[in-house]
C-alpha cells in the first residue's frame, strides 16, 4: 500500500468529503490560499474558493460561535484552529452552546461541527503552543473526541467526523503530523468508539494515547527481547471510549498501565482506571498504573521540556514495575 503522512491522510479525507458535500466549509487563520499553517488545506482553495475555505481574522471566540450557528442551519463547519491553545477563548461557546444545543432542542437541531488541530508537547513551542486539554472535553457531555495516532486512523476517523452530526474534536499531536504510514487510496471510515490493539501480548496491557501509542509500541518491541510480552491498545477515540476492548485485554493480562502525555489529575488514565475497577476488578493481578507528563505548564528550554514528558526509559521502567508487582 502507498505511504503518506498523517497530515496528507487527514487532508485526503477532507478533500474527498468536500467534493461530495457542498455544505462543508473550513474556517481558520491562513487556511485559504496559504493552505494552512500545517498544510491541512493545501490545494483546496484553488478548487473551492473563499466561501468554503475562509481565512479569518484572529477571532477564535467569534468563528467558533459563528460556526455553531452555521452548523445549526445546514452547514458543516470545520474549524482549523492550528493549536488547541488558541480556541480556549471560545470555551463558553463550546461548553455552553455547542455541546448542549442538540440536547436542549430535543434533537431537532443538529450540531455537525468539527474542530481540528494540534495538541501536544514538542519542538520547544512553550506553554501557549503545547496544550492538549482533551480530558476537559471528554468530561463534558456532548463532544466526540478523536485522537488518531497513525495516518490510516487519521483518514478514517476524520471521514467519520465529517459525516456525523455531532461536535467532534479531532486532535492531532504535532509530532505525528509528518509521520508516514500505509493509507488506502479509496474512501473508508473508521467508527468512533473502536480501539485498536496495536500490539498483542499476554503479560500486561498498556493503553497508550496519541504520540504515546507509537512510543509505547517501540518500547514494547524492545522489551520483547527480554521476554516481556505486552499488549498495547490505542483507544483512537476518547469519547466514546471503547472500554470493552480494554476490559477484554485486562481479563487476559491482569495488569494495566495507562500512558498519556498530558496531565494525570482528573485525566483519561483516572477515568479508565476507575472503569476497570468498576467492571473488571476481579481480573486485576496488580494495582493499575498511570504514566503521565508532569503536572506543569510546558517549559520552553529543551532541558526542561524533555524532563516533563515520559521518555522511552520511563515507559520501559513503568512497564517493568507493573509486571514485577
Amino acid at each position: 500500500m502507498r505511504e503518506i503522512t498523517y497530515t496528507e491522510a487527514a487532508r485526503e479525507a477532507l478533500a474527498e468529503q468536500m467534493a461530495v458535500d457542498p455544505s462543508i466549509f473550513v474556517v481558520g487563520e491562513g487556511i485559504g490560499e496559504r493552505g494552512g499553517n500545517f498544510n491541512t488545506t493545501l490545494g483546496l482553495y484553488e478548487k473551492y474558493g473563499p466561501m468554503r475555505l475562509r481565512d479569518t481574522p484572529i477571532v477564535e471566540r467569534g468563528f467558533v460561535g459563528m460556526c455553531a450557528g452555521a452548523a445549526m442551519t445546514g452547514s458543516r463547519p470545520v474549524v482549523d484552529f492550528m493549536f488547541i491553545d488558541f480556541i480556549l477563548d471560545s470555551m463558553g461557546e463550546l461548553l455552553n452552546q455547542i455541546s448542549k444545543i442538540q440536547y436542549m432542542s430535543s434533537g431537532r437541531i443538529k450540531m455537525p461541527i468539527v474542530l481540528r488541530g494540534c495538541i501536544g508537547i514538542g519542538g520547544a513551542a512553550a506553554t501557549h503552543h503545547s496544550g492538549s486539554y482533551y480530558p476537559l472535553f471528554v468530561h463534558i457531555p456532548g463532544f466526540r473526541v478523536a485522537l488518531p495516532s497513525t495516518p490510516y486512523d487519521a483518514k478514517g476517523l476524520f471521514k467519520t467526523a465529517l459525516t456525523g452530526d455531532d461536535p467532534v474534536l479531532f486532535l492531532e499531536h504535532k509530532l505525528l503530523l509528518n509521520r508516514r504510514g500505509p493509507v488506502p487510496e479509496e474512501a473508508y471510515q473508521l467508527p468512533f468508539g473502536q480501539a485498536a490493539v496495536i500490539r498483542e501480548g499476554s503479560d500486561a496491557t498498556v493503553v497508550a494515547l496519541a504520540i504515546m501509542a507509537p512510543k509505547v509500541r517501540e518500547v514494547c518491541d524492545e522489551l520483547a527481547k527480554d521476554g516481556l510480552d505486552i499488549e498495547v491498545i490505542d483507544p483512537r477515540t476518547l469519547a466514546p471510549l471503547d472500554m470493552a476492548t480494554i476490559l477484554e485485554s485486562v481479563a487476559k493480562t491482569g495488569r494495566l498501565l495507562i500512558a498519556d502525555e498530558t496531565f494525570g489529575p482528573c485525566g483519561i488514565g483516572a477515568e479508565i482506571s476507575a472503569q476497570v475497577m468498576e467492571q473488571g476488578f476481579d481480573d486485576l493481578d496488580a494495582p493499575i498504573a498511570r504514566l503521565n507528563g508532569m503536572h506543569t505548564p510546558t517549559p520552553y528550554s529543551p532541558s526542561l521540556e524533555a524532563a516533563i514528558i515520559p521518555d522511552k526509559a520511563a515507559i520501559a521502567q513503568a512497564i517493568r514495575d507493573l509486571v514485577a508487582e
Partner: protein, 329 residues
C-alpha cells in the same frame, strides 16, 4: 503646542538611535542563531518596527509596565531588559529572563516592568487595562502600556479592553503595531476599518492618534502625550502606528505569495534606523562619527550577549515544575 521632541537633547536623541540599533543588531544575531539551531523554538523578529517600542518606552519610568506580544524582543530590550537576558532566554538557558521557561514568546522581567510577552494574541490588551485599574485603585501614578498587532484589533479582547479602559478612565496607553499583516492574512481582509485610531475615538471615545510607526520622533511625540495624559489621571489613549516587518512572520518560515517585492522594497527604503540617522545628521544633532561609535558599541554588546547565551548552562531538569504556585504560603 510644545513639541516634545523639540526639547530632546542630543543625548536623548542618540539614546533613541542606540536602542533601535540595539534591537536590530540583537535580532539579526538571534535570527542567525536560529538558523544555526541555537534557538530551539519559534522566533518572531521586530526588524523594521524598532521605532515603536523605542519611541514609546523612552517615555516610561522603570516602574511603568509593559504587556507585550509574540513579537516582543523589541519591547523587552526597549524597556531595559539586558541583551544577555533576552539572548539567553531564546537559547533556552537558565540565565535567560524567564530562566528558560519561556523562550521568544514568553519574556518576563517584572523587576523593570516587562510583565510578559505572550504566545496568545489578545491578552496584552486586557492585562494592560487591568494594570491601569490596579494603579488607579492603589493611587499610584504608574502607567501601563499594551502593545499589540493589527491582528488583535478584530479580536474581542481589543473591543472589551478599550471599552473598559475608557469607561473607567484607566491610565493605559494602547499601542497598535499595524504592520499590515497577521501572519499572511492582510489587515485589509480582516477588517473594513483599518483606521485603528478612528475606532478608538469613535467607538470608545478615547484619545487617539495615527502616526508613522517608522518615525521614532513621531512615535516619541505621540507617546509623550499619551503617557502624560495617563499619568495625570486623564485616562487612556491609543497610538495607531503604521509600520512593516521586513522579515518573515517567524524565522524559518517562507515569506512568499502574500506580499509583493515592490511593497517590501518601498518599506525597506523607509527603514526607521536609517531615517533617524539621516534626520540626526541633517539637523546637525549628531555626527556620522557619533553614530558609527554607537554601532561599534552595540556590536560589542551583542557579541557579548550571544557569547553569554551560548556559554550559559541549560536549566536543571529538576526545576521544571518550580514556581507553579507562590512560595512560602
Amino acid at each position: 503646542m510644545i513639541n516634545a521632541t523639540d526639547e530632546l537633547g542630543a543625548e536623548q536623541l542618540l539614546a533613541l538611535y542606540r536602542v533601535m540599533v540595539l534591537i536590530r543588531r540583537t535580532e539579526e544575531r538571534l535570527a542567525r542563531a536560529h538558523q544555526m539551531g541555537l534557538v530551539p523554538g519559534p522566533c518572531h523578529t521586530y526588524v523594521g518596527e524598532e521605532a515603536i517600542a523605542t519611541g514609546v518606552c523612552a517615555n516610561l519610568r522603570e516602574d511603568d509596565v509593559v504587556f507585550s506580544t509574540h513579537r516582543g524582543h523589541g519591547h523587552a530590550l526597549a524597556k531595559g531588559v539586558s541583551p544577555r537576558a533576552v539572548a539567553a532566554e531564546l537559547f533556552g538557558k537558565a540565565t535567560g529572563c524567564s530562566q528558560g521557561r519561556g523562550g521568544s514568546m514568553h519574556l518576563f522581567a517584572p523587576e523593570i516592568g516587562l510583565m510578559g510577552t505572550s504566545g496568545i494574541v489578545g491578552p496584552s490588551i486586557l492585562q494592560g487595562a487591568g494594570a491601569g485599574y490596579s494603579f488607579k485603585l492603589l493611587g499610584s501614578d504608574q502607567v501601563s502600556v499594551a502593545f499589540f498587532g493589527d491582528g488583535a484589533v478584530s479580536n474581542g479582547a481589543f473591543h472589551e479592553g478599550l471599552n473598559l479602559a475608557a469607561i473607567w478612565d484607566l491610565p493605559v496607553v494602547f499601542v497598535c503595531e499595524d504592520n499590515m499583516y497577521a501572519t499572511e492574512v492582510a489587515f485589509r481582509d480582516a477588517t473594513r476599518v483599518q483606521d485603528v485610531a478612528g475606532r478608538a475615538s469613535v467607538s470608545y471615545d478615547m484619545a487617539s492618534v495615527r502616526v508613522d510607526g517608522n518615525d521614532v520622533m513621531a512615535v516619541y511625540q505621540a507617546a509623550e502625550e499619551a503617557v502624560s495624559r495617563a499619568r495625570a489621571g486623564q485616562g487612556p489613549s491609543l497610538i495607531d502606528c503604521k509600520t512593516y516587518r521586513t522579515r518573515p512572520h517567524a524565522e524559518g518560515m517562507r515569506d512568499g505569495g502574500y506580499r509583493t517585492a515592490e511593497e517590501m522594497e518601498s518599506w525597506k527604503a523607509r527603514d526607521p534606523i536609517a531615517a533617524h540617522a539621516a534626520w540626526l545628521i541633517d539637523k546637525g544633532r549628531a555626527s556620522a562619527a557619533e553614530l558609527e561609535a554607537i554601532e561599534a558599541e552595540i556590536k560589542a554588546t551583542v557579541d557579548d550577549a550571544i557569547e553569554f547565551a551560548r556559554s550559559s548552562p541549560f536549566p536543571e531538569p529538576a526545576t521544571a515544575a518550580d514556581y507553579i504556585f507562590s512560595r512560602g504560603a
